[in-house]
């Protein structure tokens, strides 16, 4: 994703490097102290440039936060791509996308908050046309990736053709379930008060159910879904799973 910043005039290279420095710093501050504490002044101080220089890179605070959001979506796309390219059935590959999604948010819960902030109208309103385009392009890219896979499945006959089984309806169904699940788990209704099982497995189970409901072959009856989950995780996301279990041991 990152542009090939070698071979560029030195000036531009420095510019890009500084941009990354600013973003890294801002992300760190955001994660550590929250959105309310994130000010342009403080960022400038932290990177040892002045406020004016920051505004040289980002036309507003919102634009800066949106840039962070773009990086998050890019990371997510990278994971999705990996799932997409898995050599298995369309159902396995789509399931893997679901894992990628859960996993990313489990690993980077603070990024999810970040994304949520940018989705807020109060912030969107203030974005520059450019940043809006940039984010929009990424959102379209990631949606398209899912759509492509579902269309593949329909064309291959893995999903029965039906008027209700359009690719967009199906993607909408899964996406909303995962998205809602993540948000719900994060900050919403206090389900964890009720002794809740790990969100990632809940979402996996519900996804499998929904796939069955769409008659997406091969059905879960004929599959050991627990084994499939483990197989996909270790084949595609070994590194991420590792980080996840490490992270948990810190909390426990």
């Amino acid at each position: 994703m990152a542009a090939p910043l070698d071979n560029l005039p030195r000036k531009q290279r420095e510019f890009q490097q500084r941009e990354q420095l600013i973003l890294d710093t801002a992300q760190g501050m955001l994660h550590e102290h929250g959105y309310a504490q994130l000010t342009m002044e403080r960022i400038a101080e932290a990177v040892e440039y002045s406020k004016g220089t920051i505004y040289n890179h980002f036309s507003s605070k919102e634009d800066l936060v949106c840039s962070l959001c773009c990086r998050c979506v890019s990371n997510l796309i990278e994971l999705f791509q990996r799932a997409y390219e898995y050599p298995g059935t369309t159902r396995e590959r789509f399931a893997a996308i679901g894992i990628a999604y859960s996993l990313y948010h489990q690993l980077n819960p603070l990024d999810a908050q970040n994304i949520q902030i940018v989705k807020t109208n109060a912030v969107r309103e203030k974005l520059s046309e450019e940043k809006q385009q940039e984010l929009g392009a990424l959102e379209r890219e990631i949606t398209q990736l899912c759509m492509n896979l579902v269309n593949e499945a329909i064309e291959a006959g893995d999903i029965a053709r039906s008027e209700n089984h359009t690719a967009d309806a199906i993607v909408f169904g899964f996406w909303s379930m995962l998205y809602g699940g993540i948000l719900l788990a994060q900050s919403d209704i206090p389900l964890e008060d009720l002794g809740f099982s790990p969100v990632i497995m809940l979402l996996w189970n519900n996804s499998q159910r929904l796939m069955d409901a769409y008659d997406w072959q091969p059905l879960s009856k004929t599959t050991d879904t627990d084994a499939l989950f483990k197989k996909l995780c270790s084949a595609l996301f070994a590194e991420e799973m590792c980080k996840l279990t490490q992270g948990e041991s810190h909390h426990g």
Copy 2:
């Protein structure tokens, strides 16, 4: 829900009335001009009181917006209650809750944005302990209502008992699907670019599928779900449906 404000000392009655006035005004301004344009100064001006008086009612801007959010959730609870009390099968009643949810958000899309803003950490951080409690209580109330119905269904044997079929997992599944669907439809990934069918029907279909996946009797095979949708709508939400179609004719 609203306290019986007759029979109270005149002073307190006036206080409560003014509080409602402020909230109504703020909601209007929020809907009309967006969150960014909503300032305490402007609210004060609009209600013809001073800023200090507003702060007499709400300890911060965030608290005020959260109060709006509480009213929204209360309204939603009222709709849910209606669905809960419908004299039908547990499945029908739960389906009706789903309709209530979609319908509310379809009718009050701006309320949904409002709720979203309050869910943002940037805002939550600044809420007073009291308001957090107040919102939390409402959220628990509405969750509990759903849980109760699902538990009823499990006890009545409408949902097969299984280790994966705990009430919280089931509520989580539906809630996340609906919640995610609403948010997605609202401001998110540009699915509507792809020629999208009405969200409310998508969610209805997906909910029915998910219920089938949980083996929630009577299954959709044995039911005319389109007819059921219409029946529930006219029995419970005639008034709301009316508003909805009116609203649409304005846009068309």
